[in-house]
Symmetry: C2
């Protein structure tokens, strides 16, 4: 996100140290960095959505259609077959390249975040839906932890303990397994719902593929239909479930006069903001190639012209498909839980507990994002992604580079330094200007010191700031102690990372036990 | 909206003339005036809504609950009985005071505007609803002409001619009565729907009170459930219906390759913006005490910190109840159609046509807004309004004055110069600080040169700018000729008033035939 002009300044270690140390200067630099990033693209409202090829009241207001950064491409161009293009992701017999910066906690958090926010509408198996529905979304267009709390009021209610009894007020439903709190199971061993209220939840995506009754009985009742897709994703949700209930308990002690509803709503206010703080200060700082620590300073957005209503875009539903981050092999407590085996399988999380899962994910390298590196079992979804870009008639890779104020690439060897990628692009495209958006995104070299290539990095940074910092809980007249209670305000101040939260639940995480998205051994390149 | 400090400047006739004449200076003055007005209150998002007494994710996101400018009042105060307070509106045997500035076109337009935007949810007769539902709304929170187009996609579809035939593309359904276009009738003489699609429309509010089959058969099928409440409101809707279809015809001629959908959506884009232009340049300029002509310049909002998502407030559902504007007597083409007789009665509009209606409404004085002046048949709804303020536990009149940066009143004789009002307030309130919001709003003297008292005026101005100019069609990357077509862009440029539109449909409105919200004979006080 900080390339070109700003490079020299930003690469000064001396300057970065000072900025991180001097809080007033850091605050200004933070504001400048965020504004420079967000202002590299057009501000919302987006004129177009996937509903019409022109501006309409529907395209401006009906958020079930995904917005568009660029209008539908009406140019007639002969484009390569998408199955052929999928080869860009196929690592063949090569060993998977592993990331030197990212741990497996990074893709776990990225998936949890995007599954709550992007939410491409998926064809329903029974409804005779076509691929066309993927132009829509089921997002609330807010970072609202719908993964934990549900998308709708009814789902939230179904997930809550509703009680005015002491010790129960404001809690989310949970079960204790070996003395640790998890979400309740969704199904019993017969495959029936464990709680009639759970029929209001969105069914877990892909549940039809789970034949094993034992495995299905480990699926958790949660807010998001994608949370159960892998144990490391359920793991993140479990962490926030526990933090919600911990905060509810603390609030209940501080405010014995508050009812169930007020305690629940206040804990939810806090947890959403903790999550946003982690998005910026843990996740984005991991992604950023710069050593300057970005802060989730809400005031940056208050007067910003980019503080306009969020609306998830169809481009984002593609550029966040980081399948190649997922390693072919993954262990939980030393046991092999490679992703194909871990698909919708919560067993390792239940067996080894949250702490062990967080440690395991923090101490294994993620794979490297980019070309020729996707785990084999995910190649099918790479093709789906390329097809979806065609369905949405997205503009080209170079169009999108120009859109976010990056120079267009003129030659194939400017896109990538990898001869295999250059050859691949030359073989399939008559011109750099014809490269599909999705192909260009992942054909690019990874940016130095970042886990992401340049165009993805730019988009992610724009989006993270312009959609996270516009959250109503961070707004000028809401972001104050009254909204969060004394307990909550203190928790917000002392939370920057997933590790900060985990430590509140396990006093016994030692200084030599590492939790983080950035590998413990990482040094800038 | 322009009181105190700014008074002297603004009352300079010389300066106002220059501002209106010199466009560059006028543009700056316009921006300053609008910003000064809007910034006199807190910017959105509002922390509270009617759902909770504290900030919650629901209060920040679920727009079916009306927002609050000030939080629910939890003070224990002994307040006068609301039936007793209704006497403030009762003119008794006194003749109704008539406005020297406003014609009946003003309340007709005000009602049409607010019925599309405020939309207090009304208790349904069958659903066992209580008064409690009035804390909710059915608004889309946009000035979107839902009165014409419906609140939902399904309603919009039901109101459209869907055809790719020449001469039909993009049109709203209509019927010709004496060669003039009106909306189709909703019911036949047996009381059945004339079109099965109309079951998707919201039933007209109050239809249960209409026993006369002839009268019921004159109800129009329109987008808004309140449009049929009076013929002068249906009249405004009819004007925009015709303008929509006129524009669709022009667009069809210019773009023979466009389909039904694109022509419809483009005409709708245009008509919504025409409506917003009229809101600012006709309606707000009528309300404004200043001779400077405000313009609906979209660029004023693009970088404004107050450009935040709209959300109708519970306070607005009260402060816009301008019942006392409605005269006891009203004529259509010389026939007596006093409001009680005109209730849900479209006969005069159908009998005499749109042109005559617009002339009639423009050539009769509205009554004067304020105390002891409500038409008798509306006293019941005044009581409902006071009750609703109590239901919403609104803060006091003085709290709201402070909120919009007006000085609090210290003595009863500062609220009003009318001895009867002063005596009334003294009799019922122990202190000025206890005056109910709704009572204070209408107890105040009318502002010099405006049809409104000071506090209402301030709120209306804040709202008009901060919710109209934030319309997505006016946003920076949408407000351009592409969005509206050449035809539409030209129409937008040449429209400031209802009269501008009417003249496009009747070549024969002479210069000596007056159409307007401000009386032809009006001179500043």
């Amino acid at each position: 996100m900080f390339t070109s002009l700003k490079d020299k300044l930003i690469n000064s270690k001396f300057l970065m140290d000072r900025l991180n140390k001097w809080s007033w200067l850091g605050k200004i630099a933070n504001k400048i960095a965020i504004n420079l990033t967000v202002n590299s693209a057009r501000t919302r409202p987006h004129p177009w959505s996937t509903v019409h090829d022109y501006v309409s009241w529907v395209s401006l207001t009906d958020k079930k259609w995904s917005a568009r950064h660029l209008p539908a491409d009406s140019r007639q161009r002969k484009l390569p077959d998408t199955l052929v293009l999928t080869e860009l992701f196929n690592r063949g017999e090569q060993p998977q390249r592993m990331s030197k910066k990212s741990t497996c906690l990074f893709p776990a958090f990225a998936q949890y975040l995007t599954d709550g926010f992007i939410r491409t509408r998926m064809p329903s198996e029974n409804a005779g839906d076509t691929a066309q529905v993927r132009l829509q979304n089921t997002s609330n267009h807010q970072i609202d932890l719908c993964t934990l709390y549900g998308r709708t009021q009814e789902q939230t209610d179904a997930l809550r303990v509703k009680s005015e009894e002491k010790g129960q007020k404001g809690r989310l439903k949970f079960q204790l397994l070996k003395d640790e709190a998890f979400s309740p199971y969704l199904y019993d061993i017969e495959g029936n719902l464990t709680d009639p209220e759970f029929k209001l939840l969105d069914p877990p995506l892909g549940i039809g593929k789970i034949q094993d009754a034992q495995q299905k009985a480990l699926i958790f009742a949660v807010g998001g239909d994608r949370v159960n897709s892998a144990p490391q994703v359920t793991m993140i949700n479990t962490l926030f479930l526990r933090e919600h209930n911990r905060l509810a308990e603390e609030i209940e002690i501080d405010h014995p006069d508050w009812d169930d509803e007020q305690i629940f709503q206040t804990a939810r206010n806090i947890v959403i903001v903790l999550f946003i703080k982690i998005v910026v200060e843990d996740y984005i700082n991991h992604i950023s190639p710069v050593e300057f620590n970005l802060k989730a300073d809400p005031s940056v957005a208050w007067n910003a012209k980019w503080n306009k209503p969020n609306w998830i875009t169809t481009e984002f539903s593609l550029l966040y498909r980081w399948h190649s981050l997922i390693p072919e092999n993954m262990n939980w407590n030393g046991d092999d839980y490679s992703p194909s085996r871990a698909f919708m399988n919560n067993k390792p999380l239940v067996d080894y507990g949250l702490r062990q899962g967080m440690l395991d994910m923090s101490n294994q390298a993620a794979a490297e994002l980019g070309s020729f590196n996707t785990a084999n079992f995910l190649l099918g979804v790479e093709k789906q992604a390329i097809d979806q870009g065609r369905l949405a008639r997205l503009a080209t890779y170079n169009d999108y580079r120009a859109y976010v104020s990056l120079p267009k690439k003129k030659r194939f060897d400017e896109v990538s330094s990898n001869p295999n990628v250059i050859e691949f692009l030359e073989n399939h495209y008559s011109s750099v200007d014809n490269i599909d958006f999705y192909i260009g995104l992942f054909a690019e070299d990874r940016q130095k010191n970042s886990p992401l290539p340049e165009l993805i990095l730019r988009f992610v940074a724009i989006d993270a700031f312009s959609q996270a910092l516009t959250n109503p809980l961070l707004s000028e007249h809401v972001f104050n102690e009254n909204t969060f209670s004394t307990v909550g305000w203190a928790a917000i101040k002392k939370t920057s990372t997933l590790s900060d939260i985990l430590k509140r639940h396990y006093g016994n995480i030692g200084d030599n036990e590492f939790i983080g998205m950035t590998q413990e051994s990482w040094h800038p390149e």
